[in-house]
């Protein structure tokens, strides 16, 4: 089909060249018998490649020799001059055909290449769309899971905690001291489990929520978190000092509260036995970033553990010494990262720890 059309193009081009040369014959007479046939060859070779070009060359040469080269009506040229002109036409036309053929082949290859690139792009887009859909399904399942955790796992806990407390309050006499201790353990276990579920939900929610940052003054948040940590430890057991004013940060208030709250709770919790916790919070600004530091004089962390403690369920101490579930610092790390920042620690064992959260400084108002 393509071949047939190319041949048609060659024939039409030669016929057209013949027509134009014929029309100009009264002006040109015997001069330039091959004029316009070169264009026909060019057109044919561009459309159909080298072979069609060569065909047009042959067709043009025969037609021109027969119709325009004297003696007209014969294929044999009258003089050496005309023979030379015919030869030079053929040579030039062959060269044009070869060149046009090359160009055409290159163009065909380039188009094939582009088509391949387009196909690969389409495949890639389809694959990305499929993966995204898979991820969305997984995300929905995770949300459903989080829902079940929050709803169904908490229901039996309310029973355990509630009825154990009722036993303690209303049936203490019948229980005796040993029974009371056991009921208290049920209450404590239920509370631990509740804290675990609640922290797990916070952690999972942190991965999923949209965090939109804005410029906030962290002082109020730090004060509230400090009061809560203080209440947890008891007034004599914690001294928390905040170096105000703290520099402004680009953050999300709820997430920042969680991050700072967990750092302060830890700073108060991991105090040395028999000593009150001494905690200091301060801010540090450096080229577009703000670090909030929470420093304590507590038990500190050995260098080999300093990386590990930011993972989920990583604990360095038994429940009896320092109760906890190992999610607190994972929330700190995830929270800082969701706000485009990071978190870390510097510590010397037995001398205390300095935790930091690094966030972007808010962009100055224009």
């Amino acid at each position: 089909m393509v071949r047939a059309r190319s041949i048609l193009v060659a024939v039409v081009a030669v016929v057209a060249a013949f027509g134009v040369r014929w029309a100009l014959d009264p002006v040109l007479h015997d001069r330039a018998p091959f004029l316009f046939f070169t264009l026909a060859v060019l057109a044919a070779s561009v459309a159909g490649g080298t072979r069609v070009g060569l065909m047009a060359t042959l067709l043009s040469a025969v037609t021109a020799l027969w119709a325009f080269v004297p003696p007209r009506g014969s294929a044999v040229p009258a003089s050496a001059e005309y023979a030379l002109e015919a030869a030079s036409f053929v040579a030039m036309s062959v060269a044009v055909s070869l060149l046009a053929g090359r160009m055409r082949a290159a163009r065909v290859r380039a188009e094939a290449g582009e088509a391949e690139v387009r196909r690969l792009n389409r495949d890639l887009e389809r694959m990305v769309a499929e993966r995204t859909a898979d991820l969305e399904v997984a995300n929905t399942q995770l949300e459903a899971f989080a829902y079940t955790v929050s709803h169904d796992l908490r229901a039996p806990l309310r029973g355990m905690e509630g009825f154990a407390r009722i036993l303690l309050d209303d049936f203490a006499d019948g229980l005796g001291p040993k029974g009371k201790r056991h009921a208290e353990r049920i209450v404590a276990a239920a509370q631990r489990m509740e804290a675990l579920i609640s922290d797990l939900l916070t952690f999972s929610r942190l991965q999923r929520i949209d965090v939109s940052l804005r410029a906030i003054d962290p002082t109020g948040i730090v004060r509230t978190a400090a009061n809560e940590a203080h209440a947890l430890a008891g007034p004599e057991d914690a001294i928390i000092r905040i170096d105000e004013p703290l520099p402004k940060v680009a953050a999300e208030p709820t997430v920042l509260k969680q991050v700072v709250g967990n750092l302060l709770t830890n700073a108060v919790k991991f105090r040395k036995d028999g000593e009150p916790a001494q905690v200091r919070v301060w801010g540090q600004e450096f080229d577009g970033h703000v670090r909030l530091w929470v420093e304590d004089q507590g038990i500190g962390i050995a260098p080999e553990h300093q990386e590990r403690i930011f993972g989920t369920f990583e604990r360095l101490h038994g429940q009896e010494a320092y109760p906890g579930n190992g999610i607190g610092l994972a929330i700190v790390k995830a929270g800082a990262e969701r706000m485009g920042g990071r978190a870390g620690v510097e510590s010397t064992p037995e001398a205390g720890a300095r935790f930091w959260v690094e966030l972007a400084a808010p962009k100055p108002a224009a």
Partner: protein, 146 residues
């Protein structure tokens, strides 16, 4: 609402029912507390349908405490039924559930819940919550036609 109005508790978990009854007792709430344990029964009670046709025995509630996850019909559907039934369209409905998911909170308010409370795990927190419930919804809050 007054101290004689019925409080309808829509709750399917036996433990929660008993703990809430206990809390009502401890706090000293005198109002009759009626319990239904699935969504269908809740709608039947509110609309005086089926076995609840006798309003003498099953009076129109002055306050509904509504769990969301219920057998047969969800709390949201119950809420829709309460709001589309003339006699209860303004009855205070306090959602009392384990879920603190934003989607649930939004859905509940969109369908006309008056308050949304998350059941606390600790018994002391439950007592505190029921105390507040009594002070606000039963003692202070004024409702239409009760």
């Amino acid at each position: 609402m007054n101290e004689m109005s019925t409080v309808l508790l829509v709750e399917d978990n036996e433990d929660d029912i008993e703990l809430i009854r206990y809390a009502f007792d401890k706090v000293g709430i005198g109002n009759p507390l009626v319990t239904v344990s699935d969504g269908d029964a809740a709608v039947a009670y509110v609309t005086a349908g089926g076995i609840y046709a006798d309003r003498e025995r099953y009076p129109l509630p002055g306050l509904v405490l509504l769990d969301l996850k219920l057998p047969r019909r969800s709390g949201f559907e119950v809420l829709d039924a309460i709001r589309s039934y003339a006699a209860t369209q303004h009855t205070p409905v306090v959602v009392l559930t384990s879920s603190d998911q934003t989607v649930d909170i939004e859905r509940a308010y969109r369908r006309g819940a008056n308050a949304y409370l998350v059941k606390p795990v600790s018994r002391d927190a439950l007592l505190g919550m029921v105390q507040t419930l009594d002070a606000f919804w039963i003692k202070l809050n004024r409702v239409i036609g009760a």
